[in-house]
């Protein structure tokens, strides 16, 4: 029996070591890094020539783009129209968050090819598992019509998203939610507490988990302190409870007050006008309004579709405290990419107004990191959202995760 066990263990050890694969030695720059550096110095025309040459020299290769957002697929179609030599040479692969992270990690550990272009969210995973290990690389496009802030360059932000508190205007009116402390359910001096908040469980949605963790950070605490005074007519007194700061207090009371934990933002927003008199206040991506088929069919011949949708599903951009959460999706090139110049050209394309509009244009809740591309009509500019929302901060998330995630879990369990 012992012999059998020893053989099994030895076998497993050998296979495990094989599965770990060999780590890339630091012997200078990889071919992809060199290509990115070269592309960085090229004009748009030179980059196009390099990408075209690369594809022509590799007739069997397909440009693979992995992403969570279908905007990449639409952008690829625009890319193909603009560069006809790309015709039929690309593939878009839908990759969901946590599952795709597993694939990326496996590819990073094995040093294997996974795609030529990757667009992902979750800043902490990106930094710790992909950037720090040197597996995902940034190409920063520049030139006429492109202006990217330095803090968005490495890693390169592709598209920024927001999640806000939405509700059915026709039932509750725009004035329902005016101060975030209403969502703790407690009545203020002049405003009533609200108990009809619908939130997707942080156990299933990383973005919602990150939002709650960010609420315990310094920026959120400052915003919450101001809103607290306005709502209750007095300063927050930390000695009155055991919370580490006002952010933890808000998170605890907010979670306890959530009336409904929905399983899908998309489905919840679609059903926004299906609920009882007071409706629901739904925390979801503003971009989800693009999938409002009822309004689209009503107004499909009109350019006013999105405005109509806004009329139905409203939100207040003047909520005391904060309006919602802002987070990024980054556009990167794996160190094992086979068509790096094409990757650079595509990244450049989606950071131009033409490329961004091909993928995400005309839809609420999508914002380019190219500051020269405006948000859609009726949607505030990203800078305004940044000032009014809680913004994802990877450094704070990493430092607070252990304590804040446990705290959130305790509140979720209902154990006092």
């Amino acid at each position: 029996m012992k012999k059998v066990l020893a053989i099994i263990l030895a076998l497993v050890l050998v296979l495990s070591m094989a599965a770990c694969g060999g780590k890339k030695e630091d012997e200078g720059k990889s071919s992809v890094q060199q290509a990115i550096e070269a592309a960085q110095k090229m004009s748009a025309e030179e980059l196009e020539a390099a990408a075209k040459k690369e594809l022509e020299e590799n007739p069997d290769l397909t440009f693979n783009a992995d992403s969570l957002t279908s905007g990449v697929n639409k952008a690829l179609q625009g890319f193909e129209k603009k560069y006809e030599w790309m015709q039929g040479r690309w593939a878009y692969n839908v990759k969901k968050g946590a599952e795709y992270q597993t694939k990326l990690t496996a590819a990073q550990k094995a040093g294997s090819y996974i795609a030529d272009f990757v667009m992902i969210q979750d800043g902490s995973f990106l930094k710790n598992a992909m950037i720090d290990t040197g597996f995902l690389l940034s190409y920063v496009p520049s030139g006429e019509g492109i202006e990217i802030a330095e803090e968005d360059q490495n890693p390169l932000v592709g598209v920024t998203f927001n999640k806000v508190f939405m509700y059915d205007n026709t039932k509750v009116g725009t004035e329902q939610l005016k101060n975030v402390w209403q969502m703790t359910g407690v009545d203020g001096v002049s405003l009533k507490g609200l108990s009809n908040v619908s939130y997707q469980s942080p156990l299933a949605e990383d973005v919602n988990q990150n939002f709650l963790i960010m609420l315990t950070g310094p920026d959120a605490c400052e915003k919450l302190t101001g809103a607290y005074k306005s709502y209750f007519g007095k300063d927050y007194d930390p000695s009155g409870d055991d919370y580490e700061n006002i952010g933890y207090k808000f998170v605890a009371e907010f979670i306890a007050n959530v009336g409904h934990w929905h399983s899908s933002d998309t489905s919840e927003v679609k059903a926004i006008n299906n609920y009882a008199d007071e409706g629901r206040i739904i925390f979801a991506g503003l971009c989800k309004l693009k999938d409002y088929p009822y309004y689209k069919s009503e107004h499909k011949d009109s350019d006013l579709y999105y405005k109509k949708a806004i009329t139905a599903a409203g939100w207040n951009t003047e909520v005391e405290g904060f309006d919602g959460f802002v987070y990024n999706m980054w556009t990167l090139i794996p160190d094992t990419a086979k068509l790096p110049y094409t990757s650079c050209l595509f990244i450049r394309y989606i950071h131009t107004e033409e490329g961004f509009n091909a993928g995400w244009g005309g839809i609420l809740g999508y914002y380019s990191s190219n500051r020269l591309i405006p948000s859609v009509e009726g949607d505030p500019a990203l800078a305004e959202w940044n000032s009014k929302c809680i913004v994802e901060d990877t450094t704070y998330l990493d430092s607070a995760y252990n304590t804040a995630a446990k705290f959130i879990m305790r509140q979720m369990s209902g154990v006092n």
């Binding site: 060999g22 710790n128 979670i255 409904h260 679609k270 609920y275």
Partner: protein, 612 residues
Amino acid sequence: MKNTQRLPLGNRMKSYFSKPANVICVVFLVLLILMVVLPLFTLLIGSLTVNGNQEAIYIGNGAAEGDFTFHHWTELLTSKEFDYASIKFWIPLWQSTLMALLACAVAVGFGGIVAWFITRSDLPGKKYISTIFVFPYIMPSWAMAMFWENFFKNTEMNAGMGMLQSVTGICVPERIVYGLFPCAMSLGLHYAPFAYILIGGILRNMDANLEEAATVLKTSRFKILRRITLPIVMPALVSTVLLVFSSSISSFTVPFFLNKSSINSGNNFISISVQMRSLINSGFTKGQGYVLAIILMLFSIGILTLNNWFTGSRRSFTTVTGKSGQVSLVKLGKARIIVAIILLIVVTFFAIMPLFSFAMESLLEVPGDWSTFTLRYWLSTEAFEGSNKGDTIGILRSGLMWRAMGRSLLLSVIVSLVAGTFGLLIGYAVARKRNSKLATTVSDLAFLPYLIPSMSFGAVYLALSYTKGFTWLDGSFFLLILVGSIKFMPFASRTGTSAMLQLSGEIEEAAIIIGVPWFKRMTKVLFPIQKASFISGYLLPFISCMREMSLFVLLAASYTTLVTTVLQEYSRTGLTQASNAINLLIIVFVLVIQFVVNKLTGASIDKGVGGN
């Protein structure tokens, strides 16, 4: 025996391997160590090392990726910070155990009772009941949960109007709609057909002489049930409990879907599987997720040991002796019609209504709003919003969907053939070498894939496909076949073992005496006798493979590869009508396949039980 020991090693080996059961045991031992033990050890290693930089940050104290650590175990099982261990692990484990036990009770109770009425009584309408009773198992488990919510939700809990309220005006309490109870009911109803198939298969083949002898001796009906019927169906009963418990406790979608109550309502129920998924999915706590997966497996292994105690001891479960095929039906008398009506209503309700619900969801733009009735998600040639390359058109006109359906069908057929045959062979070897440790080990190893969470199982093979020397596996169809065959083999090995254990050794011995070779014995003697049970061993992997999502999502080359990955993508992008339509199509396809199998072979899942 003494002479055998004196033989040279070569001759002893020749003698050993001249018995087919020995060859099967050895081949499968090697295969299963490679295919099953490795993933298990990978989980174990993951639970004892720092899995990446995020985990190192979480652990602190200078931890680095790859370091050996017990932190995942101590943190999850003992941490008192914010009551972490009890909230993240102990309370969910306790509640999920309750949920799984309740689901077992519902599945075994409902499925077992229906199986008894179908096989052992003169109930009218058997064919109809038997045919539709398996529908809930063909659907994905969350389909029943979705139906449950759609039926019971009401405006009193601000959840919109459900079917019950719209028809009767009745608003049930929130705890009926969300929380532990509806999770257990949904899972129990989903797995009831499983109990029906396993228990019914044995009841059908049971020699009626035993019961009749007892009746002649004026034994009470209850005593016959307790002392004859129950002991005979015990292996199937324990197998059912094992499978239902393991499936229920690790079910993610149902508890996730039916946990929508506010925290203060007292109905909030976070299952251990939801906790496991959130731990594994977070880069900070992956190791803790592996710990949880291992503990859940140990839980199920405990039941597996119980199962072995029943089947491995000296008890005999032989019911097919070749001497009698006589079946006499219990006469229900006046209760016959009443029981039939009750069963017809209950079975129709849980089998047909979810399908109806799917159909309705695929035909309405806004759920519940009949003014938004449309056929476009089935028939439109125009692309839907958010679509690309024109692939999100009405599903009946979508080449992408049909190609994916074709691949799913091909995969499921191959997987069911491989898994079913493996299961049959393992069943044969286990039955013929019942007291051998080797056979028991092979039997246990063959069941282990069922206990490994699909996501983890897929992740191990994904890592393998990225390893040098194995990269040809990456995104290949062969990888899907390989993983599917191993993952779904437990269904076949359980049914194969149960069926073989029922067969008396005398039947094969008779064939051996007259010189019938092994292959011919299997195909011409053993298989035909237990055909119904063996066909179940092929059909169960087929059904499971057709609707499997999480196992293949990591391994499929793209979302267009299989019909379930297309379904998931449509659901994720908000095209729920299209995803519901695909769900309905999958169920219809499985039913068609079952019908074809029935026509070609004369056997089917429900017929194996006794629907004819």
